[in-house]
């Protein structure tokens, strides 16, 4: 059996962790530019504000209901995510962090639903973040079970038969891996529910949607297939690294070297239609320096899997800040992306589908020009200055867990 742990309203839960005054209050988190709503507390969902709603469209509703807004605080979310995943790894040997708030894991032989219930409450006690568990024979089924668990008591364990019973009432669009395009195509064939889809048979799925359709069919009927290829193991990665011809100390040289590597990786990802869920950058000090103990690499779990060079570059800059030391001579720099998943398995549209579509087109053009006229004919302004990437964030909470000057205060009164 495969389990999926997912944090409930993750960004909102992070904002509430050190703010007990926000319990039961309507809370929403805005996207990077304070443009639209990307996370909602249950109270906000109940009010009827949809995911991704542009802020300007819902201003009145927000005012009327006294909804408390936050800018995205990714530093906080990443730290809390790391803790939740750490707590999960303490329970299971085989985990695969899929996004900032989701991870798959293998259920060991002999484990039962009561064990998962206990594990869930341990993780919630340790981290203070509410989580839900879905357990089923395949990842796709576990994902469906998980969304069910969110509505109920937090844990759903389903056998193949139990999944099958649910399928007549589950729409194709809510299945992980069935995107908007596929839903449209299915609708023209009058296929609306998962049952409808399965009734058409395996060869239909294969003929109509290729390998992807076949995998979906298998996954939904209890055979592990979507992550079958070793490409999709958490160990799969793409790396780009190079030694400098000489020792390098200047930050801007490191930045542009890393920018070059990241751009190269982005291109590779797009070519293979993959998304990366983790980014690591490394800056190896020259071997003969006296800094052997220094941290030479830093990793971030991306808030959502991506192959967008721009997004990867913005993370690169933050990561470099963590490890860069102006006193050190560097001999080598590089980047690695891991946790690769097929683009069709992206977990939905956290951040404005339209904007993403636009950026995809931009990188399509860039990749094609580079292919035709030679490498790096067009390249991103290699890691731009802070201003260019720093988001609008007027309502950002503090870095409660990553900055000493901003740790929470407790009253001794």
């Amino acid at each position: 059996m495969i389990g999926l742990m997912d944090c409930n309203n993750f960004f909102v839960s992070c904002e509430r962790l050190f703010r007990p005054d926000l319990t039961r209050k309507p809370v929403a988190v805005l996207s990077s530019n304070d443009g639209c709503i990307v996370a909602r507390s249950q109270e906000v969902k109940d009010i009827g504000i949809p995911m991704g709603a542009p802020l300007f469209q819902v201003r009145d509703t927000i005012q009327k209901h006294g909804i408390i807004l936050f800018s995205s605080n990714f530093t906080l979310y990443r730290d809390i995510s790391g803790r939740v995943m750490h707590a999960l790894r303490e329970e299971f040997d085989d985990t695969f962090v899929y996004s900032i708030d989701e991870a798959f894991f293998t259920i060991p032989e002999g484990m039962e639903v009561e064990d998962i219930v206990k594990i869930r409450s341990r993780i919630m006690q340790k981290t203070g973040i509410p989580v839900s568990f879905g357990v089923a024979p395949t990842k796709t089924m576990a994902k469906l079970a998980n969304s069910e668990a969110k509505k109920g008591n937090g844990v759903i364990w389903r056998t193949v038969d139990e999944c099958m019973e649910q399928y007549p009432s589950i729409s194709c669009g809510s299945v992980w891996g069935i995107g908007r395009q596929m839903v449209k195509r299915l609708e023209t064939l009058e296929i609306r529910t998962v049952s409808d889809f399965l009734l058409m048979g395996l060869s239909f799925a294969r003929n109509e949607f290729g390998v992807h359709g076949e995998r979906l069919y298998l996954e939904l009927t209890g055979t592990n297939a979507s992550f079958a290829s070793d490409l999709l193991s958490p160990h799969a990665s793409i790396m780009s690294t190079q030694s400098f011809g000489r020792k390098v100390r200047a930050r801007n040289v490191l930045e542009s070297a890393l920018g070059h590597h990241v751009a190269h990786i982005g291109e590779k990802l797009r070519k293979q239609d993959l998304l990366a869920s983790r980014l690591t950058i490394m800056c190896a000090p020259s071997r003969y320096g006296s800094y052997a103990l220094r941290k030479g690499a830093s990793t971030v779990v991306l808030s959502e899997p991506t192959n967008d060079t721009g997004i990867l570059l913005s993370y690169t800059k933050t990561l470099l800040e963590e490890i860069y030391d102006q006193e050190v001579d560097y001999a080598k720099a590089g980047a690695i992306v891991g946790g690769l998943i097929p683009a069709s398995f992206a977990s939905g549209s956290l951040f404005g589908e339209v904007a993403k579509e636009k950026r995809r087109t931009i990188f399509d053009v860039v990749d094609r020009l580079n292919e035709r006229y030679g490498k790096e004919t067009i390249r991103p302004g290699i890691i731009q200055g802070t201003d260019a990437w720093s988001a609008r964030s007027e309502l950002r909470s503090r870095s409660f867990t990553t900055r000493w000057s901003e740790i929470p205060h407790v009253k001794a009164i």
Binding site: F18, P20, D21, T23, R24, D79, G82, R83, V84, H86, A87, E90, R122, Q125, K126, T127, G128, Y288, S290, A292, L293, K295, F400, T401, T402, W404, S405, I407, P408, H409, V410, K411, A412, I413
Partner: protein
């Protein structure tokens, strides 16, 4: 960066600031190039943080816990993985505010008490207006 930062590093960062313990005795003059005699490093995180994923740092504001050796401005190490029991110093959420108190069992009820008689104890009601957030396992104070 303030003193706490350089001493403790972040949690749950993989590496805190490590203080190398050299096996070679200190000597005057030019040190051996690339001293590879390092056999162990001391990490203050190992000392104060037993459960990194569940440990948080908070800063104290106020004087009600001075009897327990906790002063305004101290950094408390709070471990959420520990089950609170009678006598523990805890961080609690009380009507929307984070406070530090001593947990006391009195008969069948639990109260949050201060170490200062000017402050009245608060009874834990069991609803979500009033709950224990984590157990304080230590405190950090710097002098210079």
């Amino acid at each position: 960066m303030d003193t706490y930062g350089t001493l403790l590093g972040g949690v749950p960062a993989d590496e805190g600031t490590k203080i190398p313990l050299m096996s070679s005795r200190p000597q005057a003059g030019f040190p051996a190039p690339g001293d590879d005699q390092i056999e162990k490093v001391l990490d203050i995180n190992d000392f104060v943080v037993k459960h990194p994923a569940a440990t948080f740092f908070v800063r104290v504001e106020g004087d009600s816990m001075e009897g327990a050796g906790i002063f305004s401005g101290d950094v408390l190490v709070v471990d959420r993985s520990i089950t609170p029991r009678d006598g523990h110093i805890v961080v609690a959420a009380v009507y929307g505010e984070m406070v530090v108190k001593r947990l006391r069992a009195i008969g069948n009820t639990h109260v949050l008490a201060s170490e200062n008689e000017q402050y009245a104890p608060i009874t834990l009601t069991g609803n979500d207006d009033c709950f224990i957030w984590g157990v304080v396992v230590g405190s950090v104070r710097t002098f210079v």
